[in-house]
């Protein structure tokens, strides 16, 4: 019972930390697709005095990824389809050029304003429409979800780390006598801490397997069962096989730091 309690006391906070980290990774991965679709559906409108190429736009702002010229006839038709052909031809020559610009990433309102100002620095540009009201509401919703998840993850990690620190104090108490005796008889640091390292290593692997198992269940039972669109569309991104190794490395790294802290805090009598 005491043995199980000793292990659970480390495994529990470690699983909490790993779940937090995996939530972070999985959320980043699954929302990447959603962020890309927001980005792809967004475009700004540029009104230019003369013909422009993509290189012109890129020279003003690095976020430009695609440029599509909007046919003047389409615009004239939208304004008034009753124009006579001759009149339409005159208007065609007089009206400026319209471009739809796509960006390389999903920008916030401040960044969008910066892009707009970069374009307006050129005297070839008459007007820039960023449609920032719609953009901002999408962006705010997306950012707040992201922020909530990150806060949750950070909170879980901090709590988990404090629990591990507590467990380290217990380890210190349990192992210090043995390590002091071994030190007196000339054991190296590695020999002295070997059983601690082995125990911590096993706990780290168990924690990684448990965290992976939980995510496997989330991916294959919970998400599929609850039909959450944003997650279902990116279900393969929730948990990937190589995450087991990532979690194992993270877990081993954390416990080895813990072991190191325990070992260096054990003083000779």
């Amino acid at each position: 019972m005491k043995f199980i309690k000793q292990h659970i006391s480390l495994i529990f906070p470690m699983v909490a930390i790993l779940l937090g980290l995996e939530f972070f990774i999985a959320f980043d991965r699954t929302t990447k697709g959603y962020e890309n679709s927001l980005r792809d559906n967004y475009s700004m409108l540029i009104v230019a005095k003369e013909d422009m190429s993509i290189d012109d736009f890129k020279s003003w702002d690095k976020h430009v990824s695609k440029v599509a010229e909007i046919e003047k006839s389409t615009i004239i038709d939208k304004v008034d389809s009753s124009f006579k052909a001759s009149k339409s031809s005159t208007i065609h020559q007089k009206i400026p050029n319209f471009y739809s610009i796509k960006l390389d990433k999903y920008l916030n309102a401040t960044e969008l304003e910066k892009v707009k100002q970069n374009f307006l620095k050129s005297d070839k540009i008459k007007r820039v429409e960023t449609f920032d009201t719609l953009h901002n509401s999408n962006y705010a919703l997306f950012s707040s979800i992201k922020l909530a998840f990150r806060t949750f993850t950070i909170f879980m990690t901090i709590i988990g780390f404090f629990l591990i620190l507590k467990q380290m104090e217990v380890w210190n108490f349990l192992h210090s006598e043995r390590m002091k005796v071994m030190d007196i008889f000339g054991a190296s640091l590695f020999l002295r801490s070997r059983s601690l390292i082995v125990m911590a290593f096993i706990d780290a692997i168990i924690s990684a397997i448990l965290a992976s198992g939980i995510f496997y269940i989330i991916q294959n039972i919970w998400i599929r069962g609850n039909h959450i669109a944003i997650l279902e569309d990116n279900i393969d991104e929730v948990f990937k096989f190589h995450d087991v190794f990532t979690l194992s490395f993270e877990s081993i790294g954390i416990v080895m730091i813990a072991v190191f802290l325990v070992v260096i805090n054990i003083k000779e009598e």
């Binding site: 006598e177 043995r178 002091k180 005796v181 071994m182 030190d183 007196i184 008889f185 000339g186 054991a187 190296s188 020999l191 000779e268 009598e269």
Partner: protein
């Protein structure tokens, strides 16, 4: 004969505390059996601790097996300790290990094979009259038996120097006699140097010995 312990103008103190051992000089030769006595708090155990590098000299020189304890590096200290046999009044056994595993601790540290460890454990436990208790745990033994395990552990690797801090304090007569016999034999038959800190020298002691005493001012005198 070469000096195993050489102290010159040695002063010992714990950090920020007053000096415990003050400016003492003495030599212990190979094969010597030395008793160190003195009143409580005179610094007997502190002096013994300095022999295995647990406390560094505040001033003066201390050589153990030719190694300067003022300048000894961690790896050299580990090597030195692996060639010492240390016996403590409170035994310092590892309670979660079996008696057999405790006895062969110095051999395990030195990387001896399991077979050698088992053979040595059997032989040593026979010497300390604990045959059959190999798989017991220290807390299942009496104080006297635990101390005999401690002595067996100290002898496991044929050390060149045995340091014993009150090895028979609070022990029954039988266990005390077994321990004194073992230490006498190690000194006489293996030419091992033995330094024992004790309150009282045993009334019957069968081999020649030297006797140092420390007074309450931290000075050391050879009285025998």
């Amino acid at each position: 004969m070469s000096n195993i312990i050489s102290a010159q103008n040695l002063t010992l103190s714990y950090e920020r505390d007053e000096e415990i051992i003050k400016n003492v000089s003495f030599f212990v030769k190979k094969g010597d059996f030395v008793f160190i006595t003195g009143p409580s708090g005179s610094g007997k155990s502190t002096l013994l601790k300095s022999f295995y590098g647990n406390i560094k000299p505040q001033s003066g020189n201390l050589l153990i097996g030719g190694l300067d304890m003022n300048r000894i590096k961690k790896n050299k200290l580990q090597e030195l300790r692996s060639h010492l046999g240390i016996v403590f009044q409170d035994y310092k056994l590892i309670n979660e290990w079996t008696v057999e595993r405790n006895v062969v601790l110095p051999l395990w540290i030195a990387g001896y094979s399991n077979e050698i460890q088992k053979t040595q454990a059997k032989r040593l436990l026979h010497h300390v009259k604990l045959t059959g208790k190999e798989q017991k745990y220290p807390l299942e033994l009496s104080g006297g038996e635990q101390q005999r395990v401690g002595v067996a552990r100290a002898l496991a690797k044929n050390p060149f120097l045995i340091l014993a801090d009150e090895p028979t304090g609070n022990l029954d007569e039988y266990s005390s006699n077994v321990i004194w016999d073992l230490l006498e034999n190690a000194c006489q038959q293996l030419d091992t140097t033995v330094v024992v800190v004790t309150h009282k020298i045993p009334s019957v002691f069968n081999i020649p010995y030297r006797h140092f005493t420390i007074n309450e001012h931290g000075a050391i005198y050879e009285v025998h």
